[in-house]
Amino acid sequence: MDFELTEEQKLIRETVRDFAEREIKPVAKELDEKAIFSYDLTKKMGEIGLFGMNTPEKYGGQGLDTLSYIISVEELARVDGSQAATLAAHNSLGIGPLINYGTEEQKLKHIPQLCTGEALWSFGLTEAGAGSDSRGSKTIAVLDGDEWVINGSKIFITNASVDISVGCTVQAVSGEENGKKIFTTIIVEKDTPGFKRITMHGKMMWRASDTAELFFDDVRVPKENLLGKVGQGSHIMLHTLDGGRLSIAAMGLGCAQGAFELALNYANERKQFGKPISKFQINAFKLADMATKIELGRNLLYKACWLKDNGKPYSKEAAMSKLYCSEIAKEVADESVQIHGGYGLMKDYDVERFYRDQRLLQIGEGTSEIQRLVISRLIGC
């Protein structure tokens, strides 16, 4: 068993950490507070090659392994959840289905620009009435001559309403067979008539990331915009989420790491009763528990990446990583606030943002309950 990262993976970690510390950290608080999506940071993340990390070079990507990408998401999340969200949603959910199920023509048309940081792509699965139960989808697509006509709506779609969001992969019901819905995924580009995108405001977390509500009112797209095959929609979306779980897990791990470091530094500096509060056993043990959880989460997640990179089944480990890393992000951020005392409740302290940002991780891309459902099925319940 070899736990050593390659020289390249270590350098990628160091590079993304430097980038996050230098470019993101100084502005993260303000972007969060004012709920501003940063085109500038998105572009800069593109410049150092974070978009399309797993995408083959032929389509403008970097052709790197899953673990290198996951380490990058982890390092961004260690500093800021919102920027990590923009990156993870784009790579896993945006580029993911296009690269795995697109025709050569679709890939060459859309993907190169998606590897630059100047264009984003979104994943439209969730609807008001179809969250955990994605088969509850009511958005419909009907083939009319050479065009698909789409009607319906989507909610909570990441990277879907900013100017640079150029398209969305939409799951729609395209018919019925033996009383069962047929799901189909269709590409919808941003300026298509009848396609309305509304930014959702008032988020508690990921405030500098773009979340949108999408409306389709007789939206007509060419027949060729079909992604994969008719009836393959649900499979495409759920398979994409398998990969997406790794990046949400990476966000949990990074968030936990960041919150832990804040707690450790604070506990070593803050003095009460004449000594640093880290010298009180209860705090020292809290920090020891945090470090242990993070180590466990990292080992589990990296193993899931290793399975994927080696072509082995990884669905179970991906769901376990997503579940565990997002849950420890909550526990670690919570204890980190506790260690900060009253200061941890103030916006001036970064831990306050970590405490809010972690909360999405147990909900997005399949709630913790749904992860347990997936795991329990995979272990034979």
């Binding site: 390249e8 350098l11 160091e14 590079t15 430097d18 980038f19 410049e47 150092i48 970097q62 052709g63």
Partner: protein, 245 residues
Amino acid sequence: MKILVLISNVPDTTTKIRFTGDNTAFDDSGVQWIINPWDELALTRAVELKEAGGVDKITVANVGEKSTEATLRKALAVGADDAIRIDTTANDAFYVAAQLAEVAKDYDLILAGIEASDYNGNAVGGMLAEMLDFNSVSAVSGIELEESNFKITREVDGGSQVISIGGPLVAIVQKGIAKEPRIPAMRGIMMARKKPLSTKEPVEGVNKTQMISFELPPPKTACKLIDEENANEVITLLHEEAKVL
């Protein structure tokens, strides 16, 4: 035009410094190694000059053991074209300069950091220029390529001086030479794997110095806060405790 950038492999600037062997050796266990910050800026400037045209090749060189190769790989990721490691322990400045002199002869411009953040030696660049009989300028904070000369900006106390000088040149650079160190792109990191990193045997050299011992700076003492109203107390303390007045 060929540029050689000297790369020193130093402990991360946040490293907790400890010594072993009765304070005669630096304890490098668990230490994170980085490119010496001045060398990183020098490399960044070299890459900028290459991007602007007029530079054919950037080489980076380091005197050190195999463990320093990760640092050289990073330099390749940032934009150097090839790397040379001279396989020996970097004992002292004279020894290091003598090793570098073997590989530096063929370059038009050599960039050396004004110091390395580990031992603050401040010496390799100057010694190397002397050994090669190259021109040399120190405290360089700006460098531009001109037709047949280098246009150099130097920091002088509180101001600056601009000079023109011919090559081959050893420019000993300080802060300001580049705005901030360049972060490598993923593409650069992947290309670095394929760029040549060669190892050279050291030449016989003299170690002119011998380590006797290190001493840590005295620990910082607690800060004393004095009430606004008691400004006079500051004077008393400066007199009696700090004894600086």
